[in-house]
Amino acid sequence: MFTVLRCVIYRDLLLAVRRWSDVLTALLFFVIAVSLFPLGIGPEPNLLRTIAPGVIWVAALLASMLSLSRMFAADYADGTLEQMLLSVAPLGTIVAAKIVGHWLVTGLLLVLVAPILALQFDLPQKLLATLTLSLLLGTPVLSMIGAIGAALTLGLRGGGALLSLLVLPLYIPVLIIGAGTVDTAAAGLDTEAHFLLLAALLLVAAALAPWAAAAALRISAE
């Protein structure tokens, strides 16, 4: 079982390295979307500082969603998904591996770039760590919820648009708590409750999402 898990993660990373333009698209989208706000709003440090957490979180959410439709689509098209459905390892494990792979090539990169982008908004340095940590806990949840959506819309015409309609409302709690963490820290309050909520979301999603997505895949692949 763990051999299969490792194998799928290794494979997805290898494919990401060989198709690096796909990875770069999501990352550049994030960088450009975030950078547009200071340009559009102009040099008003107070306003920028206030909107920074929200803007960065929304951009991360959209960037993470951008690559979701590709999560299972390529495997579905070339028949690999059928092989995954017929694997001796439980399908939930394989889906979990695909989620880890997706997060490593999108979520993790966003987390690493976010503090640099936050400098454009003149975010105080002590908040950079809070922002990064909130994204670190929140982006895996985005990949997990996204996996369910991607599995449900697999093989549908216009699946991409449907996927965003399906997934974005489910992202709202993560967005509120994630951006709220940084706001709370900016107000000088204790952020422990927010972090615990994010961690709770992460654990609940990790326990349920792979199995839900696996069930959806079996239906989509029929």
Binding site: T3, V4, C7, V8, Y10, R11, L14, L15, R18, R19, A74, A77, D78, G79, T80, E82, Q83, M84, L85, L86, S87, V88, A89, P90, I94, A221, E222
Partner: protein, 217 residues
């Protein structure tokens, strides 16, 4: 596990398959014993692939059941999949990966333990020696098919092979090679289900044929 146990068989009872609004076939029965070869023929769209997908458990029949050693495959799941190999019409190979990576990864994915050396032997067995380290997307369609079929070399211990159009896009040399692999597997007591358009003769006294053309109604 020995693959020539007496009571090991694949049994399809009263299968009915409906795709969209079309009934592809109904009332289909057959039993596959060790050493049996089942050949499914029929026109495009007559339900060959659907039948194979039902036999794999990827698709549920509208009516009827598929049993493996007496138990329904829908309840056996992973236990059944461990004992079968399915090569679908799509190659299930990744263009960005090399032939060797494709073979090792696709084998590991379904639970076969394969090392680099075995994989290299399998690839050269299908005439891909010298192509192992090339990305599959620059190979021809027939060569991509060979990469997928190289798994047959590594699946000798798997009792049931389900092959969808294995001879598609292959040249005569590769067809001979695959035919030999299938004959050897049957001689060992394995069971093979395959669909094909081409007239490929496989010498086997225990050949069953199902033609889906006459069943379409």
């Amino acid at each position: 596990m020995s693959i020539d146990e007496i009571n090991t068989e694949l049994e399809a009872t009263d299968l009915e398959c409906v795709r969209g609004r079309r009934r592809l076939f109904s009332g289909m029965n057959f039993v596959l014993r060790p050493g049996d070869l089942l050949r499914v023929t029929g026109a495009n769209g007559s339900g060959k692939t659907s039948l194979l997908r039902i036999l794999c458990g990827l698709l549920s029949p509208v009516y009827g059941s598929v049993r493996w050693r007496g138990a329904d495959i829908r309840s056996l799941r992973e236990e059944y999949w461990q004992q079968m190999l399915y090569l679908g019409h799509a190659h299930a190979v990744k263009g960005e990966l090399t032939a060797l990576e494709n073979l090792v990864i696709s084998s590991t994915l379904v639970g076969l333990k394969v090392n680099r050396k075995q994989a290299l032997v399998a690839l050269s067995g299908l005439g891909l020696a010298g192509y192992e380290a090339l990305p599959v997307k620059i190979l021809s369609r027939g060569q991509q098919r060979r990469v997928a079929l190289a798994r047959l070399f590594l699946s000798e211990q798997i009792p049931l092979w389900i092959l969808d159009e294995p001879f598609d896009a292959l040249d005569s040399q590769a067809v001979d090679c695959v035919r030999l692999l299938i004959t050897r597997h049957l001689a060992r007591g394995g069971r093979v289900v395959l669909t094909t358009h081409q007239e490929v003769s496989i010498e086997n006294p225990r050949l069953q044929c199902i033609s889906l053309d006459s069943r379409t109604n």
